[in-house]
């Protein structure tokens, strides 16, 4: 009998440590599938963040380095500039990329570094127990916004794709989600396109994946998926934010 579905080669045969219902597993798989399909596994050097995906090197079946919190775009810059023939991507959460690492993110983007970032936005700091993230929604209750995020106290959710779109250096920016199969397929397409953007030397690409965090949100996995669809993506609308891959 022909095997029509198997684990991508770019994923190790390891049990993920993510919480039940968490979106990271799906996003890992999408990245791995894209790398397999593009045939770049053996020249990939990935950068893991500090956050839930810090153990990415235990799951991805290619070379991975750790980076200090928020610094993956700087570490990736060092790798890619030194090794332009390698395929380099970072995998980062919302706190990593848009709070502590905002400067590294903006400047890597502005320099037009030929790297790809997979940015998993789940509206809170997952690993440390669900504190407010830069993308936490207005009114959202987290461990450090017990009364709900109040713009007067905590400011507003950051729309990273839109912010980066203003920079000349960015080539491809898209926001996707994984709350249902159709969107998972769209997310994979976006990740593949972003990876291709790098392979073709077109410059900085980033895919923001709106994901769920049922345990820290205090929801069942199903409720968390429903919240993504009903609430989360209303604040963070999905779609291509910038695409100048084919621009002159």
């Amino acid at each position: 009998m022909e095997k029509i579905l198997k684990k991508p080669e770019s994923l190790k045969d390891a049990v993920l440590s993510y919480c039940p219902g968490c979106g990271h597993g799906i996003i890992h798989r999408l990245a791995a599938e894209c790398i397999d399909e593009l045939g770049v596994r053996e020249k990939t050097i990935a950068v893991a963040p500090v956050g839930c995906a810090v153990f990415a090197y235990d799951y991805f079946n290619f070379d991975v380095t750790e980076a200090p919190h928020g610094r993956p775009p700087a570490v990736a810059t060092g790798i890619k500039r030194t090794n332009p023939d390698k395929f380099v991507f970072t995998y980062q959460g919302d706190g990593d990329i848009a709070a502590i690492g905002m400067a590294e993110t903006i400047h890597a983007a502005n320099r037009g570094e030929n790297i790809t970032i997979i940015f998993v936005n789940n509206a809170n700091y997952g690993m440390t127990g669900g504190q407010m993230a830069p993308t936490t929604l207005i009114g959202q209750v987290t461990e450090t916004t017990p009364f709900g995020r109040d713009p007067k106290r905590e400011g507003y959710p950051i729309h990273l794709c839109e912010l980066l779109a203003t920079l000349e250096g960015t080539a491809y920016l898209e926001r996707v989600s994984i709350y249902n199969p159709q969107n998972i397929i769209k997310a994979k397409k976006a990740i593949k396109k972003a990876f291709q953007c790098q392979i073709e030397g077109k410059g900085f690409s980033l895919v923001e994946v709106i994901s769920n965090c049922p345990v820290d949100w205090g929801m069942t996995p199903l409720d968390s998926i429903k919240w993504v669809e009903d609430v989360f993506i209303k604040t963070f609308p999905l779609g291509v934010v910038k695409d100048k891959i084919n621009a002159k």
């Binding site: 190790k12 596994r41 053996e42 020249k43 990939t44 050097i45 950068v47 893991a48 810090v54 153990f55 090197y57 235990d58 991805f60 079946n61 290619f62 070379d63 991975v64 380095t65 750790e66 980076a67 200090p68 610094r71 700087a74 570490v75 990736a76 810059t77 060092g78 790798i79 890619k80 500039r81 030194t82 090794n83 390698k86 395929f87 400067a103 590294e104 903006i106 400047h107 320099r111």
Partner: protein, 350 residues
Amino acid sequence: MSKKVLVKGNVALCEGAIAAGLKSYFGYPITPQNEVPAYLSRKMVELNRVFVQAESEIAAANMVLGAAVTGARAMTSSSSPGISLKQEAISYMAGMQIPALIVNVQRGGPGLGNISGSQSDYFQAVKGGGHGDYKLIVLAPNSAQEMYEMAYDAFDLAEKYRTPVMILADGIVGQMMEPVEFNKPERKDFVEKDWHLTGCKGRHPRSVQSLLMKDGVLERHNINLQEKYKKISGNEIQFEKFMTDSAEIIIAAYGISSRIAKSAVKLARKEGLKAGLLRPKTLWPFPSNEISLLADSGAKFLSVELSHGQMVEDVRLAVNGKTQVEFLGKAGGAIVTEREIVAKIKEMIK
């Protein structure tokens, strides 16, 4: 006619690193090390190597981490306040065992301080400026020639022990010009090590990390690091002795202070005072054993620094109460003069 060229210490440092095969440099402007990024921004591009002016000291140090984890020779440079910002990446590189070169052309502190030469970052450099139990190999040049030579040697040391190396210079050594002979052979053709991240073609994937959460793994990692540091302490101590035989007073001084101290020793000897100089060229590992042996002969020690007393603590530890240890120093851009040192020697001999 001399083969020597007149260059700043900062420029000599660049030439040493380039000759050593520096592949990637990441920097950020701060006085008094600006000649380093300025010089390399041209030189590295001409040599088809990597130069990036980063958005911050933090980013620059992390770019070094990224370049070095692929096996390339990489460095960053800064001055005191900037070195504080680099401590994050330095601690990670120590933990991840990534060889790289970090250069501190020290200026006055604390805080923004001033731009004058200073030696107030000794503790930060040798006691672990970042978090965790780690050591850097710390080299202390006292001339433009040594800026060249130590930058050249730093990468071999770093790679031999898989550890970040710091050159602890100062604004005076960095800014002054002296005749330098660029006499080292150009290094190239480096061998891939079994931890370099180069893409997993034909081998198992690799990862380099400092996060070690499984039971006992971090404990073992720390024991391994300490064993490595012990090995470095056994092999890599460098120092210079000047007129220490039969000396009653031995000045301990490094970097720019050691030059002034040497002049002071000559002056003191002219006046019939039995003075000598011990100059650590490596601040870590520190020549404790040598100091202890000299103390056995009854010599008293005088630590001369452009600080308010940092290296003197290591001198005291090494002397371990066997003889007197005194300190003479100034900070914030002030300089200890030869005459002041001689006066202190007289006071100690009395």
